[in-house]
């Protein structure tokens, strides 16, 4: 009795949690007078969205570029840094590690205003490269911590014997260590992608030209209409374009997500 009761409660809750996603997908395909899909079901809302503002391809390209640069940058910096922290002693080591972890202590929203000014001074204002570098910085505490621990879990004998055999540190790093820490790299890359693909406030502040907007800001701008009605069908199509890659990635890489979660990737 008790078992079936808790089962039906859990199932009902699961339906409640899945409902908004299913509704959004359904209503992005459903016909609605005045929308891109006037009747029946189809991709009319998506077709209309393709021509919204600067065009879907432009926003999608911006989002993909920012995510790709963030993932590549985070992996590069944190793999090199993680190697340094796991295997070398150097002056300022502890200080640098503490300074990196301090990024977690400082609320991200409070340094976006100075970052806006600073990026302007170094010619990266309104630039996707500048935005990606900011994302790399925000990802760094988790990524560096994760990579340092991953490198430390590899026995020293593995790379040191390679070096005895004549490998330089860089060859030992690329040939021996990087393959050994691949799960760590996947986890770091996954979190970097999700954060950069989804973030709203940083592009809102750091970019001021509609043509360089990534998806979240572009889709939000659909709701900021002074004249005429908001096209909700197109809005939900935009939500789906943003959500589907994350949902798929999460389902495929769930194992890595939970792994990162356990090691402290606890920033939403």
């Amino acid at each position: 009795m008790r078992r079936t009761g808790s089962y039906s409660a859990t199932s009902a809750l699961a339906v409640l949690f899945l409902f908004p996603l299913l509704w959004s997908g359904w209503s992005s395909l459903k016909g609605q007078p005045g929308s891109g899909q006037t009747n029946g079901y189809g991709f009319g809302n998506y077709t209309r969205m393709a021509h919204f503002g600067e065009g879907l391809t432009s926003y999608l390209t911006n989002s993909l570029l920012v995510s790709a640069m963030t993932v590549a940058g985070t992996l590069l910096v944190s793999a090199l840094g993680g190697y340094a922290f796991a295997r070398f002693a150097f002056p300022g080591k502890n200080l640098l590690f503490l300074a990196t972890l301090a990024i977690l202590m400082v609320p991200y929203a409070t340094i976006l205003i100075p970052l806006y000014v600073l990026l302007g001074k170094i010619g990266l204002q309104n630039s996707l490269v500048g935005l990606s570098l900011v994302f790399v910085m925000f990802q760094l505490p988790f990524a560096l911590y994760m990579m340092r621990n991953s490198f430390e879990a590899v026995p020293r004998e593995l790379d040191e014997s390679a070096m005895v055999d004549g490998c330089g540190t860089f060859r030992a790093f690329t040939l021996i260590l990087l393959p050994a820490v691949r799960p760590g790299l996947v986890t770091v890359g996954l979190f970097a992608f999700l954060a950069s693909w989804n973030d709203f406030l940083a592009p809102l502040i750091l970019l001021n030209d509609g043509a360089s907007f990534p998806l979240p800001v572009a889709v939000w701008s659909m709701t900021q209409r002074t004249f005429g009605a908001i096209d909700y069908g197109m809005l939900e199509a935009g939500v789906m374009v943003m959500a589907i890659p994350c949902l798929l990635l999460f389902i495929v890489l769930q194992r890595y997500y939970v792994r990162g979660f356990m090691s402290g990737a606890l920033r939403g």
Partner: protein, 305 residues
């Protein structure tokens, strides 16, 4: 998991000796090599974190328009903070929101975690279902709800409720959105804690004839304390910085009733073109959160003992 090399008991002694001399032989160059690998980290942290951190303090001491020359005017940006009624209101609103959401989120997350803590058929599906909203970006989730709770377009139109039409309803709907988006995330935090409790403890309790309620209050909750503390920290700090849900979903309305602190910072910088004032608010918020983080970490450490 990280692949581990098989133990190599029979390693050549001369290689060990060689390694030792190798390590001792080039300590100086190894130091510089280490710095070289850490250099990108140092550049990113220095240029994009420490420099803006110093800049935000400097900006807060200046009249700093969006365009044009900055001029030193300390402490005017700080003294005028209390003159801004919208900011004062936003402090109270954000605190109220933080309190409500932290209590509700913890309760819902704990309920979900208890429902799916044991291995049984279908439990993986349930866990994924509860967590899935957390995989969607928060901005996307806010826009999803913006459409779903629209009385003309959404599925709840028949209820004839203005979901974001009154201050109370707007807060209520935002809470529903945040619970939907974050309950699974917090459930996952609690699950990691629940699974760290040894089965033997539960078995001993059962042998001693403890009821389910007694087991929960006397065993599960106390042992879960550090995990609950961690969840509270994340919920509190996250909620104090709330932006997306109020900027996108309620747009601060109706009548500025749902304006959060970060929204005021944004407005001062980009609608009033007063970057100095925005920086002063940022410094205040930053100091408050660093203090709060330090305090909570101490409480958390204490809880571990």
């Amino acid at each position: 998991m990280t692949r581990l090399a098989p133990p190599r008991a029979g390693r050549d002694l001369d290689k060990v000796a060689a390694r030792a001399s190798h390590a001792r032989g080039r300590p100086r160059s190894r130091r510089y090599i280490g710095m070289l690998y850490a250099a990108p980290t140092a550049v990113i942290v220095g240029v994009l974190f420490l420099a803006p951190l110093a800049l935000v303090v400097w900006m807060s001491l200046n009249k700093w328009p969006l365009l044009g020359q900055a001029r030193f005017n300390a402490p005017e940006n700080y003294t005028k903070i209390s003159d801004d009624p919208l900011f004062v209101d936003s402090v109270f609103f954000t605190l109220k929101y933080t309190l409500i959401i932290t209590v509700l989120l913890s309760a819902v997350a704990l309920g979900l975690a208890l429902l799916v803590q044991n291995r049984r058929p279908g439990v993986t599906f349930f866990r994924t279902a509860f967590f899935l909203p957390g995989a969607v970006g928060f901005a996307a989730a806010s826009l999803l709800f913006y459409g779903m709770l629209n009385p003309d377009f959404g599925p709840l139109g028949f209820m004839d409720v203005k979901w974001i039409g009154t201050p109370n309803m707007a807060l209520f709907s935002t809470i529903a959105l945040v619970l939907w988006r974050f309950a699974g995330f917090n459930m996952l935090i609690l699950l990691t804690g629940l699974q760290a409790i040894p089965v033997q403890v539960y078995e001993a309790a059962r042998t001693d004839g403890a009821s389910r309620w007694q087991t929960f209050t006397k065993i599960t909750l106390p042992l879960l304390r550090p995990t609950i503390a961690l969840m509270l920290i994340l919920s509190i700090t996250g909620s104090l910085l709330a932006f997306d849900q109020f900027f996108i979903f309620t747009n601060g309305g109706p009548d500025n009733s749902t304006v959060s602190m970060v929204m005021v910072i944004y407005r001062n910088a980009f609608f009033r073109f007063d970057l100095g004032g925005a920086a002063a608010l940022s410094v205040v918020l930053l100091a408050a959160l660093v203090a709060l983080n330090a305090l909570q970490l101490r409480v958390l450490r204490g809880g571990d003992k």
